[in-house]
């Protein structure tokens, strides 16, 4: 499968913040999105995940293939780790949660309430959710926030086995993940966006 993004303009609050984005991703590859704070990484990922509409341009191959993970993991504090995962698994068609528990080292925490986990453990649970969706394209916004070195390596190996199974990943990150991945720098797209007329100006 292929994800094609052509001539994409990403807007926030009706103002173009990134323009002229073109890239193609094929199965088994990862693409790392880089840029300073406020450069539009999150807006780009949300646009590709379909959570906000693009101003112009085309995204093909993303519909119903995306597992999205952002800063908040959507965990329910009153439910246990296993219950949280089982919920997402049944939403996505009911794959077993055991591989995800194993991969993210959550077996010993399975019956613990999500509200009692540490920030890093919550993050690991949030990332384990990606595996039970069985979706091929992972769109990850700062996945390593609040993870320690061991947890980061757990995440990397889960990511690598996902890629080896023909998955894809679009990741925004500040740290070097040590992945064999292409890098998409936001800066040139930001400069291009300065030339895009807002809808109001175009109307006038």
């Amino acid at each position: 499968m292929i994800l094609t993004v052509s001539n994409l303009t990403v807007a926030r609050g009706g103002v173009a913040i990134l323009a002229g984005i073109n890239f193609v991703m094929v199965s088994g590859t990862a693409l790392v999105v880089r840029g300073p704070n406020g450069s539009g990484k999150t807006s780009l990922l949300r646009t590709i995940a379909g959570l906000q509409p693009q101003m112009s341009g085309q995204i093909t191959g993303a519909e119903d293939r995306i597992a999205y993970a952002a800063h908040s993991d959507g965990l329910k504090a009153a439910m246990s780790v296993a219950e949280n995962l089982e919920f997402w698994s049944s939403v996505f068609g009911g794959p077993s949660i055991q591989p995800a528990l194993n991969a993210f080292n959550l077996n010993s925490l399975a019956s613990r309430r999500a509200g009692h986990l540490s920030a890093g453990q919550k993050r690991r649970l949030g990332l384990a959710r990606l595996m039970v969706t069985e979706r091929p394209l992972w769109v990850l916004d700062e996945p390593t926030v609040s993870l320690d070195a061991v947890s980061v390596s757990i995440f990397i190996s889960a990511l690598e086995s996902h890629l080896a199974n023909g998955g894809m990943a679009l990741i925004s990150t500040h740290i070097d993940l040590g992945l064999d991945a292409e890098v998409l720098d936001m800066t040139p797209f930001k400069d291009l966006a300065a030339n895009v007329e807002t809808s109001d100006q175009a109307f006038l």
């Binding site: 997402w88 939403v91 969706t133």
Partner: protein, 218 residues
């Protein structure tokens, strides 16, 4: 979708607020009415249908605030909207879960409280049927209001102001049917109107609420 319903019911049971809040509020209001208007049984039995309906409506309103906000704040709504469940399904399930945790318990305790207010015996059946027909509409309209105010911190006041006018037709016909039932009059027409309103709301609101939610998630 069943998984979402089970999760919502489980959360409502565990973290309180869901099951308890509306029901407790309803009990308190109805129990306090005889104290405030006095123990005259003729007066109480005359106002009983209206008071029970008003109490049920306000109890529904009370728990709307948290209906979608919780899922929005912890990011679950973003994740759900990228899941295979359509947003129309998500809002319908939310409304159903709200009705099961709020409307249904009210329906079950209403006869007990009717005794407290000297509701005539003939009126019980109509009261329960009118609540059963009307409260689903209250939950569904409530989800629409919650979707409208989702991005607003402390949006509870705005939510009440937006939702209350939409509740009025349900209240008018629901309370009217219950009153007519209690007084031994013909109650078919208001009950049918009530069913019509609920049918209309259930058919239309999931789509409207989903559109609004999609706009607000951006």
């Amino acid at each position: 979708m069943r998984a979402l319903l089970i999760r919502d019911l489980r959360l409502a049971l565990r973290s309180g607020g869901g099951f308890g809040l509306g029901l407790t509020f309803f009990l308190i209001v109805i129990v306090l009415v005889p104290f405030s208007v006095g123990p005259a049984s003729s007066l109480l039995s005359r106002i009983a249908p209206g008071i029970l309906w008003l109490g049920a409506l306000l109890a529904c309103l009370l728990s709307l605030d948290r209906l979608l906000t919780v899922d929005w704040e912890d990011g679950a709504l973003d994740l759900l909207s990228t899941s295979p469940i359509p947003l129309e399904g998500i809002v319908s399930i939310k409304a159903l879960a709200h009705w099961i945790t709020t409307g249904l318990p009210l329906l079950l305790v209403a006869p007990l409280l009717g005794v407290l207010l000297h509701l005539p015996v003939d009126g019980f059946g109509v009261l329960i049927s009118s609540l059963a027909l009307g409260t689903p509409a209250l939950s569904m309209i409530g989800v629409f209001g919650a979707a409208l105010t989702i991005g607003i911190k402390r949006g509870g006041l705005l939510l009440s102001l937006l939702v209350l006018p939409l509740y009025i037709p349900t209240l008018i016909f629901g309370a009217e049917a219950a009153r007519r039932g209690a007084q031994g009059l013909e109650f078919g027409t208001p009950l049918l109107f009530l069913a019509g309103i609920t049918g209309f709301v259930l058919a239309l609101m999931p789509f409207v609420a989903a559109v609004v939610l999609r706009l607000n998630l951006r």
